[in-house]
């Protein structure tokens, strides 16, 4: 069956921003289409228009030359347009089958047969009667896909589906998507990951600032050409030069560190041992939820472990709180930049004052030295190219990239000897990621050390000197970056063994 989807001159204007500017696209079944763009390029708006969540101000959408009226997600469903969102819409405590039957009119017996057929056909291994919360992210996504497949979709839209998946799960997903495509389902794949576009898709439309800037076949493209189209400027490729100023001077030594949490939702850390040298970047990979959070908190001093030792320049620091550790010139950039690293309702300069040193004199004799803090904040804003010079702005009005620059700036302007950062580029656009990577490389070159806990393997491979993988609270053997490749990482992340 041949499906044609046509987006014709669609515009959507929000106050102060044109989310979609006269977008026209043609899609045809049998092919997998990529919609590529930075955060805020207008992809999500277009997807929401296609799925009926929001209405366009101008323009039409045609399915097989028939004008579609999409005023609610229900209309999209009735017109056989299926959507898998980045965040799952599943009831955690209900079983898989219950989740699938909620919005389905068929009787339970028929539905179960139908679902079982789908599972068999695509070789999905999911137990229909376990609650959703027992499933991995990849399995949850399959449930979402099955929910679409039940309705015989003509169009399947996937919104950044791999952000929560492991390498292995991603490959699985790609195989399934290719299968769907062969069966005549038109697939639109939204992403900002360039590699995925090249390995999965046939055609790619690049969006930038609400406009479609390029439509091309992926065989004609390569990583750098796509990246340039996406951000509209030539990226200077970050190449980490293997740090040759490694003096072998030991900065941090963690030994026999264990952490048993009282909270059942936290991960216990088991026998963590590693050392970090001056000027080195140690990457810690892993699927999220394998103890990264706990490890970060223990290294920063937010939680204290009751046994094991952490030595910073041979001084025992395991009983110190984050403020005391900062005095030793450690700096921390947590994963949750929005509500942990900063308080959204505080002004920029107040957020800067969070990182308070004895020597910074923000609070002379306990009094708030507003002028000093503001001067210091201005310096951060300009040194780290944050897109504002107003230190009285509430930090909730900064975009993700600018907020992260502010936080990194705040942590780095004191020239710490060790920076511990956790997913520093999570959810940022290419421009900001590029900036932050450059910054990290630069401080390494200045002889500062970094512990980079990240779920982004590309980033780890790009920036680390040595890499270890955390799985269920245990660290793998630490490997030098040259001997690691994505496959090896994927294997270790999934709990497998290498060598």
């Amino acid at each position: 069956m041949n499906t044609k989807l046509k987006v014709s001159k669609v515009s959507k204007i929000y106050p102060g921003c044109i989310a979609n500017d006269n977008v026209s696209l043609n899609f045809q079944s049998g092919k997998i289409y990529a919609l590529l763009g930075e955060n805020g390029a207008g992809k999500s708006t277009l997807v929401k228009i296609l799925s009926g969540v929001i209405n366009p101000d101008k323009g039409q959408i045609f399915l097989n030359d028939k004008l579609l009226k999409l005023t609610s997600p229900k209309d999209a469903k009735n017109n056989n347009i299926g959507m898998v969102f980045q965040h799952f819409n599943l009831f955690e405590t209900l079983s898989v089958f219950e989740n699938l039957s909620i919005d389905n009119e068929k009787n339970n017996h028929q539905l179960r047969i139908l679902i079982n057929n789908i599972l068999k056909k695509y070789n999905f291994k999911i137990d229909l009667d376990v609650p959703i919360l027992n499933l991995s992210a990849g399995q949850k996504q399959k449930v979402e896909i099955v929910r679409c497949l039940i309705r015989n979709p003509k169009v399947l839209i996937m919104d950044e589906p791999t952000s929560v998946l492991t390498e292995q799960e991603t490959e699985d997903l790609f195989l399934s998507l290719k299968k769907f495509s062969k069966e005549g389902i038109l697939i639109i794949y939204i992403t900002h990951k360039l590699k995925e576009v090249l390995s999965l898709c046939d055609e790619v439309a690049v969006m930038r600032k609400g406009k479609v800037v390029s439509i091309s076949r992926t065989v004609d493209e390569e990583l750098s050409s796509l990246a340039n189209k996406m951000i509209g400027e030539n990226l200077n490729k970050i190449k980490k030069i293997a740090s040759n100023n490694l003096s072998g001077e030991e900065i941090l030594k963690v030994s026999r560190l264990n952490f048993n949490s009282e909270d059942p939702y936290e991960v216990n850390l088991v026998d963590i041992n590693f050392t970090l040298n001056k000027g080195e970047c140690l990457g810690i990979a892993g699927i999220s939820g394998n103890g990264q959070n706990e490890l970060f908190q223990i290294l920063s001093g937010e939680t204290l472990s009751n046994n094991g030792s952490i030595k910073f320049r041979s001084k025992e620091i395991s009983k110190l709180n984050p403020k005391e550790r900062r005095e030793y010139l450690m700096a921390f950039s947590p994963e949750d930049r929005i509500s942990q690293a900063a308080v959204p309702s505080l002004k920029i300069y107040e957020n800067v004052a969070l990182n308070n040193f004895k020597t910074s004199n923000f609070f002379e004799k306990g009094l708030f030295n507003e002028r000093k803090i503001k001067d210091h904040s201005k310096k951060i804003l300009s040194n780290f190219s944050v897109n504002t010079d107003n230190v009285n702005l509430k930090s909730q009005f900064l975009s993700g990239g600018n907020l992260q620059k502010l936080i990194l700036g705040r942590e780095l302007i004191t020239s710490p000897e060790l920076l511990i950062c956790f997913n520093p580029t999570w959810g940022l656009d290419v421009g900001a990621i590029n900036y932050i990577h450059q910054t990290l490389v630069k401080i390494n070159e200045q002889g500062k050390s970094i512990i980079l806990i990240s779920t982004n393997n590309d980033e780890l491979l790009q920036l680390s000197d040595r890499i270890s993988v955390i799985n269920k609270g245990k660290l793998s053997k630490i490997m030098s970056a040259e001997e690691v490749n994505p496959e090896k990482l994927g294997l270790l992340m999934g709990g497998g063994l290498v060598d």
Binding site: K74, E302, K323, R325, S339, N356, G366
Partner: protein, 357 residues
């Protein structure tokens, strides 16, 4: 379908004006209630809010009542700003009164300038120690401070009951449940002959100033603010969370203790069962009506004190129960919370057929 969304930004001016709106709505609703009860609304409101303060004596009474409310609310603002829900100021007030009163009885018939400061200090320390109980239990056993501080209110009230009936009761008092009248050296000086307004007001005003400096100009105040907005951030910044819990409770307890000792050495002059018409609970309303801001609290305490006075005059002139005062206090809090909700959230009506993901 109705959808409730958080607003992006609320203007500072409106934030401080909504309490005024809440008071206005309270007046309108009060007028309606009076009308339904068969009174002329405007006249009733006049009896309630104007008559009580139309002479010097009335104004002095207003300040007498506003003083403890303001003091307690100032203390509570430290707790509430840092996300510690101390509901037991009434108990801390009572315990401060007990300890201060104990010292006053100890120095019965003593002369000397040191007696009064000693009593006041004892009262503050008493309230502080009593407030440390929920704080310490929270820190070490993770108990809920709301429940603990609330339950402690009844413990201190019953202890006061026992003392004034038993060991501390006035030997010449014909078994009335009250202690001796404190001697002159143990009394706060009266400011004007014939009026009840006393030197306690200076303690309250000084604490307002001190609280303003601490909350807005010091590192401690900054830490309190950050902890109130995000405990996660406070932890990340390395603020000593446990010390801070203890500290804010101590401040709050000391203020409530001061209010208690101010009452017994000021207008009351002895210990008896009813040393406070629930000032400790009403001060919670004052603290929120004043936006946890020291200056706001000064105004809020005057307004709420007026409801106490209004209830008394209304009782006399309109023959309504004095609990009308509490009805008005309740309405103020209700309208304040309601307008806050609308201030921070907007309600969207999406029509009936719309689907929402």
């Amino acid at each position: 379908m109705i959808k409730i969304e958080r607003r992006d930004e609320t203007s500072n001016l409106i934030y401080f004006l909504t309490p005024v709106l809440a008071i206005f709505l309270t007046l309108v609703t009060g007028a309606i209630i009076f009308y339904l009860l068969g009174f002329k609304p405007l006249e009733a409101l006049k009896f309630f809010f104007i008559t009580p303060i139309s002479d010097l004596y009335g104004l002095s009474e207003l300040l007498v009542k506003a003083t403890p409310l303001c003091l307690i609310a100032i203390g509570l603002s430290f707790c509430f700003k840092s996300n510690n829900w101390n509901i037991g100021a009434e108990g801390q007030l009572t315990f401060g009164g007990i300890v201060g009163g104990g010292v006053a009885l100890l120095f019965y018939n003593h002369e000397g300038f040191y007696v009064l400061p000693l009593i006041i200090l004892a009262g503050a320390i008493g309230g502080m120690i009593f407030a440390m109980i929920p704080a310490i239990l929270k820190i070490y056993f993770n108990t809920n401070e709301i429940l603990v501080s609330l339950m402690l209110v009844y413990i201190s009230k019953l202890l006061l009951d026992y003392l004034v009936v038993g060991p501390w009761s006035n030997p010449e008092g014909f078994n009335f449940p009250e202690t001796r009248q404190f001697s002159e050296s143990a009394r706060l000086p009266i400011l004007f002959e014939g009026l009840r307004i006393h030197a306690g007001i200076f303690i309250a005003l000084f604490s307002v100033f001190l609280a303003w400096v601490v909350l807005f100009k010091t590192y401690l105040g900054f830490q309190i603010k950050v902890s109130g907005l995000s405990l996660k951030t406070a932890k990340y910044a390395g603020f000593k969370g446990k010390t801070m819990i203890l500290l804010v409770f101590m401040v709050s307890g000391a203020c409530a203790g001061l209010a208690g000792v101010g009452e017994i050495t000021g207008p009351i002059g002895q210990l008896h069962r009813m040393i406070s018409p629930e000032y400790g609970f009403t001060a919670i309303i004052v603290a929120f009506l004043g936006r946890l801001n020291p200056i706001g609290i000064v105004f809020a305490s005057l307004i709420v004190a007026l409801t106490y006075l209004g209830a008394e005059t209304a009782q006399i002139f309109l023959q309504v129960p004095k609990y009308t005062g509490q009805v008005f206090q309740g309405m103020i809090l209700f309208f304040l919370l309601a307008s806050d909700f609308l201030l921070f959230f907007r309600i969207k009506f999406l029509g009936l057929k719309k689907y929402e993901y």
